[in-house]
Chain length 433, copies 2
């Protein structure tokens, strides 16, 4: 059985294949669905994830269902869109088809690649099991399990040094995810579980944020970086800049000569573009991204578009556009509109990114935001942040519900999703209790 | 390091060890916490689970965080209660201590055993991976994954016979859990995902409920059994009584000569008491339960109490009391009160179970309930059920939230927690698409 025909025999409509149901792919599908096209969206997960809030699941404030929604439910009303669960392995550009990991193939007339990115351990792939990153719901549940289990084990532990290591949390990477994780963990220790234990005082937990560069939030204006660092310190987070991790073991993080005993290391230091880009057989940039044309198409392949984290768009600014949701959303829409223009025989338009601002939140009372020329911090930034995030919960019925849960968590310091699920390894302790 | 001393040197207070943080253990802890005692609650999970609603997680109506709450958060205000994460392996009654799976030991003056029960496959333990049961949050997430993946795979599948097998759901066991699962799955197929797919029509999915005995809900009055069966049939469930499963394979369920091709089998047929009872070295009943004295203590061990699913209490009715939440709650309280009486030199009181009624729900519009002499069914029973369950969400801050989510799911037919998490095996299909 060969690939499916490029155009649907029933309708004669051209077939657009979209790989990835994140911000870029979903926006492309919604834009294309307005036209007489046959659209297939392929994703290896059945849900679209509101990734900016993933750290809230990892830190037990929200449940996975609050920030993820089945892709087919979001696209239900678009009858010309099919959603398929599966993993794209390679693009066979010469034959206009995509090969899946299980050997199946999907043909296309136009292809929109929006596969996103994954963690990069800068050549230290052996660190991955010791220092999980945060990309999927399963990652977030794993991180949540590790954080909560560290406190549980510390309560059992009689050896003071081991107990201290269990109550030391190290976050590697001072970008938005690292900053948000560090703030949230500090808040869990200082407030949420502060009175839940009898033999340990969670408020004495150490939270370290290690950043290789000279400041946290490197892509933000310097004044906001400084305020973020200040807010983190006020929460009790030890922020260390110009600090490069040289080794991670099950018992410690090494920073040059210094050894920091810890049992919980979280990775927020780097991402790498999807390996799908390599199969295009065009030159990639240093980060594995595809340098795209001004219309977002792949050089030499006007029928293939790349959007989001896999795209390197350098026609507007010197540096490639950052890997954030707004870039992916705007590119998804632009690629879809260029496909429609081509089918109508109109000239394509170059993509222009409209910067809507940056925002990061540090604990419950602090956030920093850059919205146009405005640099906000403190409660005003937090409220702006909450508003922007809730309004942007794409296709979610339960915006009111999520708002309520936040308000609840905000005013009570409680986190309702503190469940340890999945395999719990046998607790090993050095003493009976 | 030896076991911990039986009485706390600091306070001189006797030490009560409770094994299990379910309905019985939690109620015992709360009752004992009112007195000058030192209490330890041991559980292998960090959360208390509102088990009657677990099928709602398995069928994507609720998130795990809605029906589970950290045990230490529930008991936070009771400063004389310690909560420890660990698994009890055996009771060493001669030495007044409990041995944990990792070799640690916990001493006690009084012991309350409330470890609950697990699935029983009636000697067919090889069926377990093929037909998961529903006892923990992880079980529920596994069942949810299987149900949702079956629809995803059917959408890919080109072979009509395989597709039909993927769209056949078999529930083994017609007790409350089986009835509730069957009703909820039928509702997902007929309403929730009815319009989400393009190549399959989920409304044509078959849902079979196989019961070995002559009627569903065998422990309920016969008129309510009949109404439950009627409601299930109205939802499109094929109910088969006097039907015993003889084999389960990855591709089918066998009922004698008949072979029912299916890829999703769920087990709701039987439970067995915790194996912890065997270590007491007293005669157990046929189901592995401990026949307790009228005061809920173990024969020959007045310092050990057994409550909930592990207890066989035959001093009030001919048959042992059923394994439901109300029995466990009332026994947990009674055992705790008898411990307090003993410490005060007062005589113990025999346990009396006060039957508060039975209830089961079938889909969104139907339920059956027996409350005292009242036999309710239909919407009235559903409302009574919703009220009883929400009011009884022990220690949950978010009762209002859960009520809201239900109301939402009820009026919109939507299920907000339809996420496939955990390992997704590679989809195998017989054809390209």
């Amino acid at each position: 059985m060969g690939p499916q025909p490029a155009a649907d025999e029933r309708t004669g409509a051209p077939h657009v294949l979209i790989v990835g149901g994140g911000f870029g792919g979903l926006q492309a599908a919604r834009t294309l669905a307005q036209h007489s096209l046959r659209i297939t969206l392929l994703d290896r997960r059945n849900y679209h994830l509101f990734q900016p809030l993933l750290y809230q699941v990892a830190t037990a404030a929200l449940s996975p269902g609050d920030i993820a929604e089945p892709i087919r439910a979001i696209l239900r009303r678009h009858r010309n869109v099919r959603v398929l669960l599966g993993e794209a392995d390679a693009v066979d550009a010469a034959n206009h088809r995509v090969v899946l990991s299980d050997g199946r193939v999907l043909g296309y007339d136009y292809l929109v690649l929006a596969p996103g990115s994954h963690h990069s351990y800068f050549g230290h792939d052996d660190w991955e099991p010791l220092a999980p990153g945060l990309k999927s719901v399963d990652d977030a549940l794993d991180v949540r399990r590790r954080i909560l289990l560290a406190f549980e084990r510390a309560e059992w532990e009689a050896d003071p040094a081991t107990r201290e290591a269990l109550l030391t949390f190290v976050i590697v990477g001072g970008g938005p995810t690292g900053v948000e994780l560090a703030g949230a963990i500090a808040e869990i220790a200082r407030h949420t579980v502060a009175r839940d234990f009898r033999d340990i005082d969670p408020r004495r937990a150490r939270v370290l944020l290690l950043e290789g560069g000279p400041r946290v939030l490197a892509t933000y204006p310097t004044d906001l970086s400084a305020r973020a660092e200040q807010s983190l310190r006020a929460l009790g987070v030890e922020v260390r800049t110009d600090t490069r991790v040289t080794a991670i073991t099950p018992a410690a993080v090494h920073v040059g000569e210094e050894v920091i005993p810890t049992r919980t290391v979280l990775w927020a230091a780097g991402v790498a573009a999807s390996p799908l880009g390599r199969s295009l057989r065009v030159p990639l940039d240093r980060m594995g991204r595809v340098p795209v044309e001004p219309d977002l198409s792949v050089p030499g392949h006007p029928e293939i578009f790349v959007v989001g984290d896999l795209a390197s768009y350098t026609h507007q600014t010197n540096a490639p556009l950052p890997g954030v949701a707004q870039v992916a959303i705007q590119q998804g829409r632009a690629a879809a509109e260029n496909i429609v223009r081509s089918l109508r025989g109109q000239p394509r338009q170059p993509f222009r990114y409209k910067d809507l601002g940056l925002m990061a939140t540090i604990g419950r009372e602090a956030a920093v935001a850059e919205i146009g020329r405005l640099h906000l911090s403190g409660l005003v930034a937090w409220l702006a942040w909450a508003l922007v995030h809730i309004v942007n919960l794409v296709g979610f019925d339960n915006r009111v519900l999520v708002l309520w849960q936040w308000a609840w968590a905000y005013f009570t310091f409680r986190r309702g999703a503190r469940l340890i699920t999945g395999p719990v390894p046998v607790l090993t302790a050095t003493a009976n209790q």
